[in-house]
């Protein structure tokens, strides 16, 4: 098999089959599909429940049948899948009944992602995912390629893209030099950042990464719940009795709830730490002359590379726990209008997340990604206090309505409680106002916002896609305006700022765009 692959790699212009290990990938995705579709079988199961109860062995042929079906279809998919590289184009033929033929010229490929799932570790193979800009349909995944071959292919695709974009002689010479070196070495790569296990544990505590575990467990929710309940019963923990309002005093009940909440928080945090480690284990952020490369993953190793010129916005996000611990989640965002993979953060190639970095590390990455950026030196202007007034105005009718309801239910005490809650909301609005801030210089715009935590955004003016200037009649009287700046990675809004400042920010952005005439990609 290895010989075949080496032969294939040396003569890529012929149609090639995948390595037989690819069947594993098709089986894994087949099982995933079957698990996701199992829910549609529930009605059938419900109807035949009594029959099944009488002879439980009836399940055996069904399970065997489904497995056989998955096995056969996986093998067929494998048998009908072939690809070739010709004239700097990747061509892929696949499909058993409905055939698809994908033509993907190197020059149009935006992102190359290398993924090594757990079951490919032993055979040293990987999946190569090729994304084009925008359309979701025009993407291709070649599974079970030898890692070396995938790396070579990646290099030649990226170099091709680069030579297409830059016509300057010096750069081409540079890339030819790159070409000649061994593809195995990560030449020209400079390690920018690395995350230790401790960082990842911190990240798991401060950020909710539970979803990755929850997502993986989704088909088994019921079983897990039943299992937990049965364990609890075996241990003599009668939860029905525990939460029975008639046999328990109020404080006991409160205590029970409190301990339950604590237990839940603890287990969620543990799961989150686990999720963080699964996602970001062995995290490395490297840069080459024109790319950022992120490598991480415990089970599935992933490598995402992003062209540096595609960087649109840098976001530094801190939750309240992050503020206490002095950690920052740094995001390098690129074009996201394609919107694919948005539900799967690990496969999300629209941004590179550097989890829980320290202030100095964040500063050095920002300085590297956006030269001359003054995010750390600049002073922020605050937004108008009318922002608070505006939000409170929304609150008043709700307050009156809820006061009336609570008054009719529990008298003065109800009103008191409502006012207390409203006070809290006003305090939150105040916190929000306090965090809002904006600044700019010749090149960049800086935005600060948050509630308990604080987020910073910075982006170059020349990459602005569209601007919006929003003003109500009341705001116009007070010389205020809300501005919104649309970037290729999404819109950013600054509310209730001085209208002159708003105009200045927008017009200088528009002016820079047309004056510099630089590509945003």
């Amino acid at each position: 098999m290895d010989n075949d692959q080496i032969k294939a790699a040396s003569n890529p212009e012929k149609w090639q089959k995948l390595s037989p290990i690819a069947v594993l990938y098709f089986i894994a995705s087949g099982i995933k599909v079957a698990a996701n579709n199992a829910i549609y079988l529930l009605p059938a199961v419900a109807i035949s429940y009594s029959t099944v109860q009488e002879n439980p062995q009836i399940w055996l042929p069904i399970v065997v049948g489904v497995l056989c079906l998955i096995g056969i279809s996986s093998w067929l998919q494998y048998a009908f899948y072939s690809f070739r590289l010709i004239n700097e184009t990747v061509e892929i033929r696949s499909g058993v009944f409905s055939k698809t033929h994908v033509d993907l010229p190197f020059a149009r490929i935006q992102n190359v992602t290398i993924e090594i799932p757990l079951y490919y570790r032993l055979t040293d193979t990987c999946c190569l995912q090729l994304d084009t800009a925008g359309s979701t349909k025009q993407e291709a995944k070649i599974v079970a390629l030898p890692v070396d071959f995938a790396e070579t292919l990646k290099k030649s695709i990226l170099n091709k893209v680069q030579t297409e974009n830059d016509s300057s002689q010096g750069k081409i010479a540079n890339q030819q030099a790159t070409h000649e070196q061994s593809p195995l070495n990560n030449e020209n790569e400079e390690l920018l950042n690395q995350r230790s296990l401790k960082d990842l544990i911190l990240h798991g505590i401060t950020n909710n990464r539970v979803w990755i575990i929850i997502g993986a467990l989704a088909p088994f929710y019921d079983d897990v719940a039943r299992y937990l309940a049965s364990i609890a019963q075996q241990l003599g923990f009668d939860y029905q009795h525990f939460f029975d309002t008639q046999s328990q005093a109020a404080w006991q009940l409160g205590l029970a709830f409190l301990s339950l909440i604590l237990l839940a928080t603890l287990s969620v945090t543990l799961l989150s730490v686990l999720g963080s480690i699964v996602l970001f284990y062995d995290y490395k952020l490297a840069k080459t002359t024109d790319r950022y490369i992120r490598r991480s993953g415990l089970l599935t190793k992933q490598e995402v590379s992003m062209k540096r010129s595609r960087l649109q916005v840098i976001a530094l996000k801190q939750d309240w726990l992050d503020v206490l611990l002095g950690r920052i989640n740094l995001e390098l965002k690129q074009n996201s209008s394609g919107g694919q993979n948005s539900n799967d953060l690990q496969a999300d190639t629209n941004k590179i997340l550097v989890p829980s970095v320290t202030q100095q590390e964040a500063e050095s990455i920002v300085k590297d990604a956006l030269p001359n950026n003054k995010l750390y030196e600049t002073g922020f202007h605050s937004i108008s206090k009318r922002f608070i007034l505006r939000q409170v105005l929304w609150l008043i009718p709700f307050n009156l309505l809820i006061s009336a309801i609570t008054f009719s239910n529990s008298g003065i005490f109800g009103i008191l409680l409502t006012q207390l809650a409203s006070g809290l909301i006003v305090f939150l609005i105040y916190c929000r106002w306090k965090r809002w801030g904006y600044a700019d210089d010749e090149e960049y715009i800086y935005i600060r916002k948050g509630l308990f935590g604080v987020d910073f955004y910075s982006f170059p003016k020349y990459k602005v896609q569209q601007t919006q200037f929003i003003q109500s009649r009341m705001m116009r009287k007070r010389n205020l305006a809300t501005i919104s700046i649309v970037m290729a990675s999404g819109a950013l809004t600054i509310p209730f700022i001085n209208q002159l400042d708003g105009k200045r920010l927008l017009s200088s952005s528009l002016f820079t765009v047309s004056e510099l005439n630089r590509s945003w990609m």
Binding site: E443, Q465, Q468, F469, Q471, A488
Partner: protein, 175 residues
């Protein structure tokens, strides 16, 4: 990479743009579209009310005049709103930017640098064709929710703007 310091006073003021109104036929078109829909809606209700084939429940029969009244009332409200709102919709094409303003209470001014336009579309529905109007849609990398649209242009104007954008040097070189 050089950045010249931009003099704020030299910059165009996004609020002092010489906006042009939309085509004069746009307001009657928008209002008559509303009425066409509401008339069709009322017609369906009336036909169902008076058809001889199925006996309808009495509650439904009693609700008929009310329903017609509600549809009429909503159509009048929308027409009034459009009557006021459409003159607030204005646009402006400059050497470098495309601006569009709208909104009665909240006034929004959208500005689209022509250099950042990825492609342009002229959209003409059957009613727009009858009124010899067209909508100009401009797409940037900002994503589909930020599609810049100027409705109610005369076909001639829309084609002229489209050609201007396509001939713009930056758009041609940047693709």
């Amino acid at each position: 990479m050089t950045y010249q310091v931009l003099e704020t006073s030299a910059l165009p003021d996004p609020l002092e743009i010489d906006f042009e109104p939309l085509n004069i036929r746009y307001r009657p078109m928008a209002i008559s579209t509303i009425w066409m829909f509401s008339i069709v809606f009322m017609l369906i209700m009336t036909l169902t009310r008076w058809q001889p084939f199925i006996a309808l429940p009495t509650d439904l029969l009693a609700a008929y005049p009310l329903a017609v009244g509600v549809v009429l009332f909503i159509s009048i409200l929308i027409s009034l709103y459009l009557y006021i709102a459409i003159p607030c919709k204005q646009y402006c094409l400059t050497e470098t930017n495309l601006h569009f303003a709208c909104g009665v209470i909240f006034r929004r001014i959208y500005s689209q640098p022509i250099l950042r336009i990825q492609h342009v579309e002229l959209k003409r529905g059957p009613i727009e064709r009858a009124f010899k109007l067209a909508s100009l849609q401009v797409f940037s990398a900002g994503g589909s929710i930020h599609t810049f649209e100027i409705p109610g242009l005369s076909l001639h104007d829309a084609q002229k703007i489209r050609q201007f954008i396509l001939d713009h040097k930056g758009v041609r070189t940047n693709g």
